[in-house]
Amino acid sequence: MSLDRRDFLKIGGAMACGTALTTAVPIVSAMTEANETRADAGNQWAMVVDINKCPPDCTACYDACRKENNVPHFAEPALDIHWIRKVTFKQKGVPGAEERNMPVMCFHCEHPPCAHVCPVAATFKRKDGIVLVDKHRCIGCRYCMSACPYKARSFVSKHVEHEPGQNPDVPLRMHGVVEKCELCVHRVDKGLEPACVEACKAQGGGMAFGNLNDPQSEVSKIVRSGKATRLRADLGTNPRVFYVGI
């Protein structure tokens, strides 16, 4: 039997396709079997904070976060770990402007500079847009802390002990890693809202959490209304935490 060049290529191509299919099918089916709770790119989690509803002395989100995530408290202000910071500010150039405050946490940017600079790929963005630190892999180099324009990250500069009353759903952290707000990923995966949002809502505050891809969700309605702004939008990081009333 003699084959011309054209037939040889056809047969070769068909064989290559067949091989690719037979290897791909079991892999794909294995993935779909175990993926009931897999982070889904169809959900793009976002948060809206209406700072008009932030009373000056309220620390509900801050306290709930510390409790939920076992965030350690170090006495030295320079070393203390913050997942949410309470920032007070005054409008510039407006005489008699009142002092206001707002919670600032990790913004889970669409283009996270922290993940970009991480030399060991410890910081990464999940498919649903949550930016996380894999603390098993973090080497504590702190490039991400320099890269983050929002000062969202803290370095664990001391040993942290297990203590009674901690939340067993969230592991502690080792001395020498960098950590930050995880958008309560353990709660989000269970279908709950982050602890700060829950605590804020209980106080009648202005935090909302939801899926940007869902046009009916509260956050996407507020974002579409044009009232919501992002901090330092000029940087192009596209934060997923929006503020109303700045």
Binding site: E36, A39, K127, D128, H136, Q166, P171, L172, D189
Partner: protein, 116 residues
Amino acid sequence: MLAVAVFLAVFSLPFVYNTFNVGIGGAGSVAPKLVHKKGECVRDADWMRRNHMQLLVHTREDAVREGVRVTDHGIKGCRTCHPNRAEFCDQCHGYVGVKPECWDCHYYPSKPEKTA
């Protein structure tokens, strides 16, 4: 002569230590005894003894990176049959002299989790 005696003493120290002390198979060592409920593990016992850490790391990568939170192959799954960490993880790790860092941060779950 003294130098030879000192050399022999130092050289044989590990053997002496192992014979009279708690090293693997030493006179003072107690072989670990597995405490568990009756039933089958997620893999067979021999495989688990050698490779459980790979299963845990695989589960960890899936959970952290992909959000797959199936619990029966992670430490929460271990808890369903091995309720006591000291009799399970610590006993054997102490016997073979390895010090994994899992418990520096993680909690050995106090109640059995529902497996997915």
